[in-house]
Amino acid sequence: NAGVTQTPKFRILKIGQSMTLQCAQDMNHNYMYWYRQDPGMGLKLIYYSVGAGITDKGEVPNGYNVSRSTTEDFPLRLELAAPSQTSVYFCASTAGWGFSYEQYFGPGTRLTVT
């Protein structure tokens, strides 16, 4: 299994540009999450999904959108990028209810908005 994969690894955006961060998992996990991690800080939950077609906001959803059309994929969309969105973004998945809540993380996407 590849686990959780994320693309791209690095990206530089200009203010106002848009982009989609890709996340995929091959573990048939129900739950998927997007986090951002600012330097020296913990992870802040942006959005999460408990299954295909179901998404919900986390702690810091403003400026982001998500979709979950399949179990495997959970892309994160940034519209009108702002310098405050400069961060490292992690996607994670877990089997969820009735199973384990251990989260498997991807390698991260380092995003700089200038």
Binding site: Y35, G42, E102, Q103, P107
Partner: protein
């Protein structure tokens, strides 16, 4: 403020010593806790978890202790090795609409000197 916090942002130990990393949480409704290890440039990796109906859980060289009375948990690493150098996060899991939503603390940086 954050519901999960760590007392010591940086912990330096000698190789072979035991390490203790602490974490405080504020939500008494939290019933599932996870410790993660994050190495530089990588995503967090699961170490050990504990449910609120337990006081102690042991893994390989690691032990997690949970004190619900004072809302505190700790991660003990026996015979710390240079490879243990990383940032350690505790995550408090709160049930929301049938799913568990994690909240991460800021993290403690563990530095192991050879």
């Amino acid at each position: 403020g954050e519901s999960v916090g760590l007392h010591l942002p940086t912990l330096s130990v000698q190789e072979g010593d035991n390490s203790i990393i602490n974490c405080a949480y504020s939500n008494s409704a939290s019933d599932y806790f996870i410790w993660y290890k994050q190495e530089s440039g990588k995503g967090p990796q699961f170490i050990i978890d504990i449910r609120s109906n337990m006081d102690k859980r042991q893994g390989q060289r690691v032990t997690v202790l949970l004190n619900k009375t004072v809302k505190h948990l700790s991660l003990q690493i026996a015979a710390t090795q240079p490879g243990d150098s990383a940032v350690y996060f505790c995550a408090e899991n709160i049930e929301s609409g049938g799913s568990y939503i994690p909240t991460f603390g800021r993290g403690t940086s563990l530095i192991v000197h050879p």
